[in-house]
Symmetry: C2
Subunit: 353 residues, 2 copies
């Protein structure tokens, strides 16, 4: 398995996912600014992977702080946190990770500065390992919904490189295969950045899971012909009422599933749930550069010069379209997601504001 | 207005639409084989334009026939017709045009061979002019459904270059603007061949009709936000029961319209109606080369080497999703389309089998 991101002797090594599948390029980030740039420019993407990468970036940034007092350290660390927080607005795992790293600092006011720096590095490593473990559990809980011979449709990439490893939506596919089920996956290419064509198709082929690449607008065609049994996607942020923000096109796919009576599952770790907001309408939607739409790979122009473009990177799928949300704590009716915050003190603790 | 296709001194001059919008290249076809190649390789596309181009190709082919007797001429002409018919399977205008040209020959068994060749050229020219006139009427009949300040969504290209001129779906937009209405058009880029991004956006910009280019998977997002009032698309073949074959993605768009209570209009000349088939399930769907999906402009590879691909070029939108079909005879409830065959002798005459 190719690592999404790893800490290597004081360097954050990121797989440059914009070059996949043609080239497997790793970028060694020697400072937090490069990590922030990498998140912004999609070298790494996928909500859980963004969170982990940001945490490692903060650990790297902490090492760059020359402070000698705790107060100085906190002040400079918070500045680094604010730069990291400004990279991408939609995936909540980013803010969750930053909050958790901040909390680590604030919980240890008596620690030696050098000890703090080591603690932060260990915390980011723990987040990576916890995410991998969570993915395995999501896979186990989700795979029961996949029947033998099922044709699955997925959108964007919620695979191992969108997470610490193994994947959320793709983790369920892997777990179904590991449980001996035969599956076939229709992969939406996922315009404009083509995460489906470039990343999901590539990961499934590496795993030898049978798949067929389609353009996003073909989903309805295959559903109408009874060729799709189940949809599984990831998430970038889930509101307390079960509304889900995910890659643009997810909502259209969910509407198509409803029309054809196809169950629609969302796979995500608890770190993707934002218990601080009531509904999806409060989730900020990132508007990205028009050039992503008008140029393929920032090279080939496919539209007239100067054409007005809209490029919302995410959309909101209301809870009513979702059959279940699958987390490392089990599968939940989307309307029950909010209860997790009340039931689980541990979760509350993770959201400091 | 750039001509889609024209007859020029014994040459069929086609606009190479695969090069648009970057380059405006015309190809001079000196034989029917080149015309057939051009239809197959999408130099010309759009159901009405395919029909007209095929007719001109047959007129060109007729001139290449060295026959001295009517029987010899018919035999060779039918061979040329069969080659032209094998270019693309879905758009019925192709077969309608071939039938009409054949009929011209068979109706004139006593004509001199040279006179026949001239008749065929005139017939293809008449089809071009009739199509332009039909488009104008479609525009007039359709524009009443467009309100001032409407946000329209369209898929693929049903503009002037998809027809003899003026356009069907885009003809309605033009007519609405000519009637003094302010409109704005969301243009689906229309993967994989990007007719929306390359052709529709370009045509609307040339006409100074405000538009916004979006990826196909964004349609639901804008509908959910109440930013789309009406959908207008073209058609490649319409069955007797009102089911419509059109560019892949049209069906998904129609489902989204139903979910959001948005009226969904299909604009097409009568030559697009196939009175010989009962429903859309009988319309053959062209499966095109995988490379259209895996490579952009046959150049830039966007998916892993060897990935399995599906590439149906069209889908069927059942009549129940369609608010009205707008023809040069007026707007019809899709279920009333079949009646046109009975009511209009002239139409019956056009379908010889």
């Amino acid at each position: 398995m190719i690592p999404t991101v790893e800490w290597k002797d004081g360097i954050v090594r990121m797989l440059d996912q914009t070059k996949l599948p043609q080239e497997t390029v790793f970028i060694d980030c020697k400072d937090y600014e490069t990590v922030a740039q990498g998140i912004k420019e999609l070298w790494v993407r996928g909500a859980p992977a963004i969170g982990i990468t940001a945490a490692m970036g903060l650990a790297l940034g902490a090492r760059q702080i020359p402070a000698s007092t705790f107060e100085e350290f906190v002040s400079q660390f918070e500045h680094i946190c604010s730069i990291m927080a400004a990279t991408r607005p939609t995936a909540v795992n980013l803010f969750w990770a930053i909050d958790r790293m901040k909390k680590k600092v604030l919980d240890n006011p008596d620690a030696d500065i050098e000890a703090l720096k080591i603690m932060l590095q260990k915390e980011s490593q723990a987040m990576l390992e916890e995410d991998r473990a969570a993915n395995r559990k999501i896979g186990l809980f989700g795979s029961v919904f996949v029947a033998n011979d099922d044709n699955i449709i997925t959108h964007c990439n919620a695979g191992s490189i969108a997470t610490g490893g193994y994947g959320t939506a793709e983790g369920i596919m892997r777990a179904a295969v590991e449980a001996g089920k035969k599956i076939h996956v229709y992969v939406d290419e996922t315009r404009p950045v083509l995460q489906g064509a470039r990343l999901t198709a590539w990961e499934l082929m590496e795993e030898k899971i049978p798949c067929t690449l389609i353009t996003d607008n073909m989903a309805g065609y295959f559903m109408f012909r009874d060729m799709i049994d189940i949809a599984i996607v990831g998430a970038d942020r889930i509101a307390k009422n079960g509304d889900v923000a995910n890659k643009i096109g997810t909502y259209s796919l969910a509407v198509l599933c409803k029309e054809h009576g196809i169950p629609f599952y969302v796979a995500a770790p608890l770190s993707t749930i934002d218990f601080s907001i009531e509904s999806g309408s409060h989730i900020p939607i990132e508007e990205r550069n028009a050039r992503e739409v008008t140029h393929v790979f920032n090279k080939i122009q496919i539209a007239p010069e100067g054409v007005p473009v809209a490029n919302p990177a995410f959309d909101i799928t209301p809870a009513r379209y979702i059959t279940a949300i699958i987390t490392e704590k089990g599968a939940f009716h989307p309307k029950d997601i909010g209860k997790l915050a009340d039931e689980n003190r541990n979760l509350d603790r993770l959201r400091i504001t």
